[in-house]
Amino acid sequence: MAHISAGIACSHVPAIGAAWDLGKAGDDYWKPLFEGFEFTKQWEKANKPDVVFLVYNDHATAFSLELIPTFAIGCGESFQPADEGWGARPVPVVEGAPELAAHIAQSVIEDEFDLTIVNKMDVDHGLTVPLSLMFGKVDQWPCKIIPFAVNVVQYPPPSGKRCYHLGKAIARAIKSFPEDLNVQIWGTGGMSHQLQGPRAGLINREWDNEFLDRLIENPEDLSKMPHIEYVREAGSEGVELVMWLIMRGALSAQVELVHRFYHVPASNTAVGHLILKNRD
């Protein structure tokens, strides 16, 4: 049967992708950030997944205001890196896992989470920057990827509690898939950042680190946090952190912390990163 071996959390900032693509990873500004992922790149080689279930948000790329799905699962064969206005990132095409994705969609919808099924969409930096951080520069991503897009652009995004319980439904779905697959689930976005208005540049190091503590130790309690607290304490774009609760909900109540990293700044954003080993 398929199993979830680990959960990963990390931020996804377009400037990280640009720095990586332009060969600036060794610059003074970026070096401390990329060093935080050196351990992870080695760890991913030693613990290579067959499939990554990648929770992220689209940034007005595949979804405009014409269509705003709250939860969208990518069931296609492949997904192209998007041109977000700067040209597409020079990274490999994302190969999907259509059979597992279709199984998850059916199982999760029967479990009362009404997903939108997407067979064709381009994927933006929200999905490709985490792949670069975990796998480095490669000709081909080392595994299949199921993109799972969450609306956090138009308010309100789904609640933390909804995300946490959806994670549990995704775990039930993955565990009932008959093929023997090593699956990782990633939650991306955050941490504290605000990109708009006179309050742009907000960072809340203490709040972010408490969020990390609670996500590891007491996620059910954390899942009850209302949106307004995210917005007030972590900035208008900090509310992306609800996506990390989907990842955490898919793991066992107790997890083993493999790696933890926090860095400020990446452009306008605080970067957080966790590797959590599942005990189920």
Binding site: A15, Y155, G201, H227, P265
Partner: protein
């Protein structure tokens, strides 16, 4: 509109259904800039290009002036507005600095020293929901 729990966060407009309705054509205009030929046509004559969209005159003026706070108050969302500053060859950090009223250098320095604190006062830059 008042009475929303998130209306009293200083210097912040939450992009909710009301803002999305007001900003629909502004944001969809931004989406059109995802295509290189449209970017070229917009830069060649901004006013003509904007007149192809059923946006309000206020919205068009805000775009021409690159007044991002004004665009946000008129229903723009930063991820859509990013298509405008990308067309101008500018970064998120450039746009963020502009919206705070700080120089890009001062803003970058603030980020390097840990960013803006929740308790920090915000600059005297007009912004809010426009009627």
């Amino acid at each position: 509109m008042s009475g929303k729990s998130y209306d009293n966060i200083p210097g912040t407009v939450i992009f909710d259904a009301e803002q999305a309705r007001k900003g629909y054509h502004l944001n969809q205009f931004c989406m059109s800039l995802m295509k290189a030929p449209n970017r070229a046509r917009f830069l060649a004559n901004e006013r003509t290009y904007l007149d192809e969209w059923p946006m309000s005159e206020d919205q068009k003026q805000a775009v021409l002036a690159r007044d991002y706070n004004r665009m946000i108050s008129l229903g723009g969302n930063v991820y859509f507005l990013a298509k405008i500053f990308a067309t101008d060859g500018k970064s998120f950090q450039y746009a963020a600095a502009l919206m705070t009223g700080m120089s890009q250098e001062a803003y970058a320095n603030m980020m390097l020293t840990g960013g803006r604190k929740v308790s920090d006062p915000i600059g005297d830059v007009n912004q809010g929901r426009a009627g």
